[in-house]
């Protein structure tokens, strides 16, 4: 429909790194308590116009409560929610320029697809011909042309999801809130729909805030992710930063698989630090610094795919090289996961892409192997 729809996706705009940009939505010191239970604990985060922002966390981490406060279904116990500089905290949901797509889709069971989508416009007394036009546009956008006269129970799960999306987009809200929008779909459909969501978001230029517990989904669709736990935001960053440079063990372990090794700092260089770890039984050299003194306890996080596995020893076995025995192998088709027992008894995993056929595999059970990695591919964490 526009040139943006056809063009490949470029994510070079980073308003959060641009001091000249003012945030579109400001969540300032927001807390929500239900009795003694603190669902959201002093959360502050800025969201910029046109972002696809993900709130990621396990169930019960407060992400849905935060979303419901953005929609206006809950009032913050403390703090303020600003939209374009205007305080929204006490504005009821039916007066907010914000729409929500519900986890259960919440389609009105007694109305057709068309009337469901038209409902919001009717509430605003939009002229009839404009309603007809905009509803038709939406139905086309989500490819439901043949189903306009059907009722929700006559639709498949994927179709219902698209009706819910169309209904929440038709008013062109300043912000669209999505509560686990793809949770009810099966895996294949979910992946396909993720890309549709991204295209629609770029096409309409509406700010999306999505709540999900699925880290792959968050990584795929969003411009930035806020990882939440126990009502707090642990880290806000782009998907790549979250994965490559987690700021804590919690984030490292929540996003993807990771090996963490305990150790103490032995040397602080200008562009590297050295760590001694009993678990690894070798010196670990990491490529970038950390706010900790010599002797401080740290964890080294290494992603399985960054850990090379080999039966032949490398040139230098004293740094970033662990020895162990292959304990178990998980064959996933495209890759194999090697569970290696180190000499210290610690288990680590390493994964290799299966570039050759299974029969030609070089490493097998009970092989003695060397695990190596580059100083730049591990992260040192203090907490």
């Amino acid at each position: 429909m526009t040139e943006a729809g056809g063009a490949p996706r470029h994510k070079t705009v980073e308003p959060w790194n641009d001091p000249g940009q003012s945030p579109y939505i400001q969540i300032a010191g927001v807390s929500k308590r239900f009795g003694a239970f603190v669902a959201v604990d002093n959360v502050s985060v800025d969201i910029f116009k046109g972002e696809f922002f993900a709130l990621l966390g396990p169930s019960g981490c407060g992400k849905t409560t935060l979303l419901r406060m953005l929609a206006g279904f809950e009032e913050p116990s403390q703090g303020r929610i600003m939209l374009e500089g205007e305080d929204m905290s006490t504005v009821p949901p039916y007066q907010r320029p914000v729409n929500m797509m519900f986890q259960s889709y919440a389609l009105f069971p007694h109305m057709t697809v068309e009337s469901n989508i038209a409902f919001g416009l009717k509430q605003d007394r939009v002229p009839k011909d404009e309603i007809v036009r905009r509803v038709a546009e939406m139905i086309q956008l989500v490819q439901l042309d043949d189903f306009a006269k059907r009722k929700p129970h006559q639709l498949s799960g994927g179709q219902r999801q698209r009706v819910a999306l169309a209904r929440s987009l038709v008013k062109k809200p300043k912000m669209l809130l999505l509560d686990e929008p793809l949770g009810a779909l099966d895996k294949k459909l979910r992946e396909q729909t993720q890309f549709e969501l991204m295209n629609i978001q770029e096409e309409l230029g509406i700010t999306f805030v999505i709540v999900t517990h699925d880290q792959e989904e968050a990584m795929t669709v969003s411009s930035r992710i806020a990882v939440m736990d126990h009502g707090r935001i642990i880290q806000v960053a782009t998907p790549a930063e979250i994965y490559e440079y987690p700021n804590s063990r919690y984030v490292a372990e929540f996003i993807g698989d990771v090996n963490t090794l305990e150790g103490r700092i032995t040397q602080l260089g200008t562009d590297f630090i050295e760590i001694k770890s009993a678990q690894a039984a070798c010196r670990i050299r990491a490529g970038h610094g950390v706010e900790a003194p010599v002797g401080g306890a740290v964890w080294v996080a290494i992603r399985p795919e960054k850990l090379n596995i080999s039966v032949t020893p490398p040139d230098d076995t004293s740094v970033n090289c662990m020895r162990g025995e292959v304990w178990d192998i998980g064959y996933l088709g495209n890759l194999s996961i090697y569970h290696v027992r180190l000499e210290s008894g610690q288990m680590v995993t390493s994964c290799l892409t299966n570039q050759t056929r299974l029969v030609e595999r070089a490493i097998t059970w009970e092989d003695s192997v060397y695990l190596t990695w580059a100083p730049s591919s591990c992260v040192v964490l203090t907490g």
């Binding site: 279904f73 949901p93 039916y94 009105f108 409902f119 509430q123 129970h153 639709l155 209904r167």
Partner: protein, 273 residues
């Protein structure tokens, strides 16, 4: 599941439903008996139905009963709807425990007590007994049934559709009218039907609370039954059973057709991408 369906189960069902339906069937059969004696079959006749049309007392009672049932079930549905909403939506309001107690108590209260207590109150405030008092009595217990039906529907109600309506700009009051009410309408209708039949059916409470000129059909039937079985009463009973049976059969056929269409729709939907 079929594996567990043995001869024992078959016999249980046949005997059980035989027990439930045989008395009513016999009653219907003997309403077409020529003879006045219930036990002697003397040939098919509809003369007792003809006799009904001439029994002005019975017709009057039927008319009173119908009016009481219509008015009381309609008022009870409105009050019961509000009460059901209060119980499921209003959270903790002052006197909630007392209120829910008053909703549930009439459901288990022996009719003789309800009837007696209402009568004594009408006497105490020297309110003339008749059509109005019977109607008030019926409203009182019917609204509790409606409240329970509505409440149980609201408990299983997905509240996110109300939130969705508000999210799309619909204020709470209008959300109730446009979304909640249409969705719970089947429960409201069945509450009304339940109230209507309860009112048609009631003998004890009506006997206590009625006054001159407001004899209901069950009271009329009761006073005649005490004198013995008559084919005329069989005929009245058959008509009443017939009305209910036709109503229920129509309702269930409609429900079944709806169900079938729904199932087909769902198959269709599942086949779609």
């Amino acid at each position: 599941m079929n594996r567990g369906f043995t001869w024992f189960n078959g016999v249980s069902l046949v005997l059980g439903f035989g027990f439930l339906y045989l008395p009513i069937l016999l009653l219907i059969v003997y309403s077409f008996n020529e003879s006045k004696l219930v036990t002697v079959w003397a040939g098919f006749s509809t003369k007792w139905y003809g006799a009904l049309l001439e029994n002005q007392g019975l017709l009057d009672a039927a008319w009173v009963t119908f009016r009481v049932a219509f008015v009381s079930s309609t008022v009870a549905t409105i009050l019961g709807l509000v009460a059901g909403l209060m119980l499921s939506r209003f959270g903790a309001f002052r006197g909630r425990v007392l209120f829910s107690g008053m909703i549930y108590a009439p459901l288990v209260m022996p009719e003789v007590i309800t009837g007696l207590s209402l009568l004594l109150m009408f006497v105490a405030i020297s309110f003339d007994r008749g059509f109005v008092t019977v109607t008030i009595a019926h409203i009182t217990f019917s609204m509790c049934y409606v409240a329970v039906v509505v409440q149980s529907r609201l408990i299983s109600f997905d509240r996110s559709i109300e939130e969705a309506a508000m999210d799309l700009g619909c204020p709470p009051g209008r959300t109730f009218l446009l979304i909640t009410l249409p969705v719970i309408m089947p429960a409201i209708v069945s509450g009304w039907l339940l109230s209507f039949t309860l009112s048609l059916d009631d003998l004890v409470i009506a006997s206590f609370t009625t006054g001159p000129g407001a004899t209901t059909l069950p009271m009329k039937i009761y006073s005649q039954v005490r004198l013995g079985v008559t084919p005329e009463i069989n005929a009245v009973s058959t008509i009443l059973v017939g009305i209910v049976a036709v109503g229920v059969v129509i309702a269930s056929v409609l429900a079944k057709r709806d169900e079938a269409r729904r199932a087909q729709d769902e198959r269709l939907a599942a086949a779609a991408p």
